[in-house]
């Protein structure tokens, strides 16, 4: 099992066990992480599983998928260089200990 820590905009942290092969989105849903809605179910048709991945983990998560940036452009939350769609990040052993930050909802 791989540990992943989700941090809410208010700083509240929740560390969960992820299954290798699942997406980070699926991991979040399985553990009722607030702020991950995943409306399209991981088909990369929305941007409601948007999160920030810190630099130190960015390399290990692999490259963005084709079109991921285009979908992120439409996120209703603030997009930064650290932005990813969590449906496009597969859990691997290398991600053990990864920190995923959730965006604040734009007013």
């Amino acid at each position: 099992m791989v540990s992943i820590t989700f941090i809410q905009p208010d700083g509240a942290a929740q560390t969960v066990q992820a299954t290798v092969g699942d997406s980070v989105m699926q991991t979040a849903l399985n553990n009722n992480i607030e702020g991950i809605f995943a409306e399209c179910g991981g088909a990369m048709m929305c941007a409601t599983c948007h999160c920030y991945i810190d630099d130190e983990w960015a390399e290990k998560t692999g490259d963005k998928s084709d079109g991921e940036d285009d979908m992120l452009d439409c996120a209703e939350t603030e997009v930064t260089d650290a932005s990813r769609l969590t449906c496009q990040i597969k859990v691997t052993d290398a991600l053990d200990g990864m920190v995923v930050r959730l965006p604040s909802e734009l007013a």
């Binding site: 399209c40 088909a43 079109g67 285009d70 439409c74």
Partner: protein, 389 residues
Amino acid sequence: MERVVIIGAGQGGFQAAASLRQEGFDGEILMIGDEQGRPYQRPPLSKAYLKGGTVQALSLRPDSFFETHKIELRMGCWVRAIDRANARVEIDGEQIAYDHLIIATGARNLRPQIAGLEHSVGLRTLHEASAIKAFLVNGVRVGVIGGGFIGLEFAAVARELGHSVTVAEAAPRLMARAVSEPMSARFAEKHRQLGTEIILGDGVAEIDAGGFTLASGRYVDTDLALLAVGVVPNVELAKLAGLQVDNGIVVDEMLVTSDPAISALGDCAAFPDPVTGRSIRLESVQAATDHARLIAKRIAKGADAPYRAVPWFWSDQADWKLQIAGLAGPTDTAEELADGTVLRFCGSRITAVETINNAKVHMTARKGMASGVPLTRQKFDVTPAEVLV
């Protein structure tokens, strides 16, 4: 305490329950589903699930979500009737009162009058998909009746898994209801390249244990015949209850039925197209979830903004992701751009934008349509550099 009862535990029913909580509704929520198990997503059933996906990955949320958010689930349960006079629904002899009722009964597979239908299978429920998945071993001959999204997604997966595949479509082109002629042609070519036999303009006249006979008289040998010729909305409960039904359960721009205490959403609802005002019914995740959110906001907060969401659709077929933004009418014209994008027009108005593996243009179209400012042809002009990509 106020109680919302939701009939249907699919994508739309689930989204209504989740959005009600998100919007701060603190009354009771009861969701009634006729299938067993947790509410799940249907789109992957014809895609990832058949290729080795797990049942768990289909779940919309884990059990704990429903417990935490106090959403009561009654699964494997049929609503017998809606008693509008007393604001109650009847399930298996039990009466459940509602303050607001949301009908999210979705659709079921269309079963046309073809002899031998019992020799075919459908692909809409997890139960059906699991049976098909178990059957797809050791190279079987697959016949697909209907060249729409589901039939073609299934055909692509079956080819990828090494089965031989024949698709028979009665219309002269694939996905005729959903996409333009140039797109249909491109997908026909794509599937043929994948090794699928595509038969157009030749519907199925009869099915038997060994295959099916086409209108032309040709016989297609199959080990598995998938019937994928569309769906019909589940409107019977609403009709019995005296609600207005015309193609779907008729709702206004607030998604309220002819009874102010009852809303309807998703595949079963006929709602006014925000652009043309015409009554339309969409079969999509987008419509189900966007409808659900609007209804939840209205019930929880009294929000009164009319429904305005831009329709969008997608279909994964092999390594092609078809994306459609907007909604074209059957007679809308089509213009193919250099980068492969197809624009649909009603007069000079862009009604839909069809793309393959081009999220950028798709999202530009969705954003543009959502802004309320009519899209212009110029917005889609591409530079030579982009064409090369």
